[in-house]
């Protein structure tokens, strides 16, 4: 046991005692601000979503979601820049020869079978994000898996980064243009457009399903590009 370990253990002990004393003073209810209760009461009539978390993400805090998409976009670009494709490096690497071997029969067949089902599940989760638990982020992760699993079975094949970037750019542009249309029409950036409708119906909540579709495609394309870059590195 070195001095470094003892000092870090002492530091963590003190931090734990401090956190316990802080958490003792936190109030034991969700009435911290009262905003959450108000949103729970008003969101089904104002926005028309059966899933109230979706109304927070896309209607009440839509600008924050745009900023969050920007963070994911920045992380994706930064990872792409760090792992920029270098042909000399790839041919010289020791793993280069092992990676060229094709995957086995089981993995190839399973990937071919899984891809359409994963696509359907991902689109279902994205398009029902305003009704059920789910939405653009979760469905986008499943879409990314659908495009990444076939890449695992074909080690020599390169990912089409151009297509992913194009889809991502189109989704981002459509998200922002829906927000700009709302700005000129209703006077507020990313305000929900259209009729709220009946909560629970598939065609309800105005423009929120379109926003979630753009979010899902953007997240899916970014994550697929990110995974493919990590694989090609």
């Amino acid at each position: 046991m070195k001095a470094r370990h003892i000092s870090s253990l002492l530091f963590l002990l003190g931090l734990g005692l401090l956190l316990i004393s802080i958490f003792q003073n936190l109030p034991y209810s969700n009435n911290l601000t009262g905003i959450g209760a108000n949103i729970n009461a008003q969101a089904p009539q104002q926005v028309g979503t059966a899933n109230i978390v979706t109304s927070v993400i896309l209607a009440y805090r839509g600008l924050d979601t745009l900023g969050e998409l920007l963070i994911l976009f920045t992380a994706s670009i930064a990872a792409g820049m760090v792992l920029a494709y270098n042909p000399d490096e790839l041919t010289d690497s020791v793993l280069g020869k092992q990676q060229q071997q094709p995957a086995g029969f089981i993995l190839q067949t399973a990937a071919d079978l899984l891809m359409p089902f994963l696509l359907i599940t991902g689109m279902y989760i994205i398009l029902h994000g305003h009704i059920t638990p789910g939405g653009g982020f979760q469905g986008g992760a499943i879409l990314a898996a659908a495009f990444f699993i076939p890449l695992l079975t074909l080690p020599g094949k390169r990912m089409d980064y151009q297509l992913g970037s194009l889809l991502e750019a189109l989704a981002g542009i459509s998200f922002i243009s829906i927000g700009l249309i709302a700005l000129f029409w209703k006077g507020q950036f990313l305000a929900p457009l259209g009729e709220p409708g009946v909560p629970g119906a598939l065609l309800s909540a105005g423009s929120l399903p379109l926003l979630y579709l753009a979010t899902g495609i953007k997240v899916g394309a970014e994550l697929a590009n990110l995974l493919a870059r990590l694989r090609d590195a």
């Binding site: 963590l12 931090l15 956190l19 316990i20 729970n40 109230i52 792992l83």
Partner: protein, 157 residues
């Protein structure tokens, strides 16, 4: 507030503290970069658990309407921390992927993932570099001082 509901908070907060301390301990005592990254992941999940716990209400349901309902009839938990955590998870994935790509580059460059060995290598490199800089700056200082004295002497006369 019944005692049963209070125990949920106590367990959740103890879980938050345990995960946070475990993650920080991992980041402090291990020297492998990937293990430090896993410590960061543990700290992230501790913060997510803390946010969800603050928004929890005893006896509250998930803020989702069932079929046929047009308004929530029973008490539901706070939807704002849930939306925050939903986006925080995705941001966490992006940050982890970026950190892993940096780890790949570090391993390519230094050939090791041990931060102590990386520190030794960078120290040696910086010593060589500073020695190199020192000789070069000496030369440039001499080269810079000679014309200065000449011009100063010239202006004095």
């Amino acid at each position: 507030m019944t005692d049963d509901a209070g125990w949920i908070y106590i367990f959740a907060y103890l879980g938050v503290i345990g995960l946070l301390l475990l993650g920080l301990l991992t980041m402090l005592i291990y020297r492998n970069v990937i293990r430090i990254l896993l410590g960061l992941v543990l700290v992230e999940s501790a913060i997510n658990l803390l946010l969800v716990t603050i928004g929890f209400h005893p006896g509250g349901i998930a803020p989702i309407l069932e079929s046929g309902q047009t308004a929530l009839t029973t008490l539901a938990v706070d939807p704002i921390p849930q939306a925050l955590v939903l986006t925080a998870i995705v941001i966490g994935v992006g940050v982890q992927a970026l950190a892993l790509s940096l780890v790949i580059k570090v391993y390519r460059f230094y050939g090791t993932l041990d931060i102590q060995e990386i520190a030794n290598i960078t120290q040696q490199q910086s010593q060589q570099l500073s020695h190199h800089d020192f000789t070069r700056s000496n030369c440039s200082r001499q080269a810079a001082t000679v014309p200065n004295t000449l011009t100063r002497g010239g202006s004095d006369t």
